[in-house]
Point group: C2
Chain length 123, copies 2
DNA sequence: GAAATATACCTTGCGTGACAAGGTATCTCG
DNA sequence: CGAGATACCTTGTCACGCAAGGTATATTTC
């Protein structure tokens, strides 16, 4: 069994659902500096979010496929002389636009949430 | 047709998915000052989030039902002498705890996202 | 050189939840 | 009474994260 070996029954965070929408933005951001391959992205998501976001490859690959179909990322196979073939993903120009848009949307949303949570009294 | 009358085909925000997980937190927060009834909450969500979060009653009622089943809110029917009967929702002690927990989780998550988006280079 | 392990990609099935769209009941107004 | 507003509720559909499986290649171990 080459899988994680999580062991526990998986205490699901209550904000699990929230993280759905953030994932696309995070992946695009991770690809901003340059290309990366699937497994690399999986571990980068956990590392760069400092554990706030944890995914498996079963989550990532369908997402990458959607991003590719939407024209936000392009792919390239690399078969090195040593090692397993890897599929590298990189942002397209449309992908950079999407990243910028999502970044703005995230900023607005997070600001609105912060304000709402800070206010003591309603209306 | 007493419904919104949205008209357009509904330009769905790309962060639509993200808002899922936030909704429970928002509703609990809206109930913090005191009780409110369904339709009131629907419009309060849009107003208090300044449009960042928009829901319909078809979204809210199932959520309220889940919150009630989880023991986070309690309900009370009020049939006024004038007007349509309303079902009022209020936080239970467990609901207040949940609100505090979700608030902390949101803060951590939003902080992690901000940091990730701010960083220029990855690894 | 076979077996075991690691790396890497991909697919299927399930459960959850937002949303549109429909429905019901009550009240007000002309 | 008919029209519209208010308010609650339910059903069906779709998207998506995730667990759990699978495949293929490369490396290590005996």
């Amino acid at each position: 069994m080459t899988r994680d070996g999580e062991g526990g029954e998986g205490r699901r965070s209550t904000l699990r659902e929230l993280k759905r929408g953030a994932l696309e933005l995070v992946v695009l951001q991770l690809l901003a500096p340059g290309e990366a391959y699937g497994y690399e992205i999986v571990s980068a998501v956990t590392a760069r979010s400092r554990g706030a976001l944890e995914i498996t490859d079963g989550t990532l690959y369908p997402l990458l496929y959607r991003l590719e179909k939407a024209g936000f990322v392009a792919t390239r196979w690399e078969t090195p002389e040593r090692g397993v073939p890897r599929k590298y993903y990189r942002l397209t120009p449309a992908g950079r636009e999407e990243l910028a848009t999502l970044g703005r949307e995230w900023a607005a949303f997070s600001k609105a949430m912060g304000r709402l949570l800070r206010d003591q009294e309603g209306r």
